[in-house]
Symmetry: C2
Subunit: 354 residues, 2 copies
């Protein structure tokens, strides 16, 4: 059967002041449609049974995770004692899914991305599930780039994978976030996709590569999993997590693996990494995007959100104004990347307000 | 004796969101030194006895007027039933002062202006008191313009008033707020001062001109004043105010009077008419001015105020950010004039928040 594991362990600060210490991006309603994680799950439902949708998150985020609100069984919410990036998270999910469905094919998906064209998104997913099942390979979803982004990783494609049907390629290599000249070169070459962070695999493939590429973590987790179902399991898992390092599936497994496939796609994907990308996802160039009691007078290209009271903006262009609780952010839209640093400075200088 | 009447009847909206319906500019602490009215009075004290400092304001503002906080006798706070601009206000003050000191010379001063060089300010006041006493003329204080302002009225000077000593002139005429080309011409000619709104007169002069130029209002108020000291006075005054029109001393008397004198001065005067002028009064060009818990990252020429919580501003130039109660204003600094219109729009669209 096909399963999805939604990876909800992140703790973003780029959406300060909305993403305070106590609430990470995946639990925010940035688009006005619902929290990112709920939207991520809702998009999958036409493809999958609810029992086959899983969430991995940190224990500390449990208060934000209502199985009822998410529409999945309570047992499908898997909690890690603390965050160790995606490789341990995925190993935990695979162990749970294997216990029920050893022949599963799994799609791993970040909990905090947005998709404009859901129909096309689901047809890509269907294709990737089939590919992963048939080939036993890791299958990644690439996004056709529209500008020389420096904030995304890239996937370089090699030869076409003939047996995959239309538009499936062997991955030549993964590239970290590039500088601007490199990003321009990538865009021009036509051989690069953005890495969406969505990937597919069969359980047998994952287990084999996890044991081979991350043997230390594998051993720690296997030793904890031997207590699975027993009273001692939570303490064992906690002990294992204290010892294992943070490492992503991308870095720990995919970059070491040959024979990965990429399916270049175009379904209006946006990782909503900054206030700027949220603005670009929600509005056309030149447009303002506003949430809450907001009064805009002669503004352009601005994003304004107010969770209470009133925000009035006069004669501004390219500005982001976010009011959340007792904090207000006013930021040049093109400098949204700097919000992360500001959030850290706030935490240091005004700890009671962060 | 010399007296000052501080005119505190205004109700500004250009400092929204700080100046809500319930609190006008003269009662705000815009500079961080104290409310405008308290500062106005404090500046006068080295010149005058406390008993000779008077305030005229509207009844509705009584909660903001503590004689103790202002440092003057309670009987020196004169309340009008409602606002009718400065001519009726001044007539009311003159009637009270005349009852105690019929030979008084009075300086009328707006309650909401700022002065950078107080020593020089007081020496100008001393000179004007002497001039008004000796000549029996109205004496106005002109401010040497530093740029072609379109937000101020201007005073054009005529011939020097030889008997007045250094730098006293006959007023040629008053000019309303000009357009920009006219303001440039004024500045270039060297013959124009900004009208500070501060003027001096002897009681006998004021009474004579008030009766001559505003006979209708004079008659109404005289008829009320005949009940002065009696229980019936408040009701009579209220009835008179309902019938008399709003009119300023400038428009109703000074513009009709010949033989007015002007003393061109330069004591760092600022009417703090907008957030921009407050910024210019408090900071040097390029500087930021911040009040409250404010975090500025790579900003220039900006004014940021927060009455609670935290405001963070990133990468902005020429911006005004004001957070007061449940309202937040973000405004291009050079368009601060538009805040008045915004305040009116807020009042119409969000009446519970204005």
């Amino acid at each position: 059967m096909d399963h999805v594991v939604v990876m909800a362990g992140g703790s973003g600060t780029r959406f300060w002041p909305e993403s305070r210490m106590r609430r990470s991006k995946q639990f925010l309603d940035l688009t006005g449609r619902g929290s990112m994680i709920r939207e991520t799950i809702r998009r999958m439902f036409p493809l999958l049974r609810r029992e086959n949708v899983w969430v991995v998150a940190c224990e500390k985020d449990a208060p934000h995770l209502s199985a009822r609100a998410l529409g999945i069984p309570a047992g499908n919410i898997l909690l890690e004692p603390e965050g160790r990036n995606t490789a341990p998270a995925m190993a935990l999910a695979v162990a749970h899914i294997a216990a029920r469905d050893p022949a599963a094919v799994i799609a791993a998906a970040p909990a905090d991305h947005a998709v404009a064209d859901e129909r096309s998104f689901r047809s890509v997913l269907r294709k990737c599930f089939r590919l992963a099942r048939r080939t036993g390979r890791f299958v990644t979803v690439g996004i056709t780039p529209t500008y020389p982004a420096t904030g995304y990783g890239y996937i370089e494609r090699g030869t076409p994978f003939a047996a995959g049907g239309d538009a499936v390629y062997n991955v030549r290599r993964f590239r970290e976030k590039p500088d601007l000249p490199t990003a321009r070169r990538f865009l021009k070459s036509g051989r690069f996709s953005w890495n969406s962070g969505i990937f597919f695999f069969r359980i047998d493939t994952f287990r084999d590569r996890f044991a081979r590429f991350l043997p230390g973590i594998h051993a720690e987790m296997e030793s904890a999993f031997r207590h699975s179902g027993k009273k001692t399991f939570p303490a064992r898992l906690r002990a294992a997590y204290r010892r294992i390092p943070s490492i992503s599936v991308d870095y720990g497994i995919l970059e070491k693996e040959d024979n990965i496939l990429v399916v270049p796609s175009d379904f209006g994907w946006n990782d909503l990494g900054t206030w700027r990308s949220l603005h670009e996802f929600l509005g056309k160039p030149g447009e303002n995007v506003a949430f809450g009691n907001v009064l805009l007078s002669d503004c352009r290209d601005s994003l304004v959100r107010s969770d209470h009271g009133l925000v009035a903006v006069v004669g501004m262009e390219d500005v982001v104004v976010i009011r959340c609780g007792d904090a207000v952010l006013v930021c040049d839209r093109t400098r949204s990347e700097e919000v992360k640093g500001i959030a850290e400075e706030v935490r240091a200088r005004f700890p009671h307000l962060s």
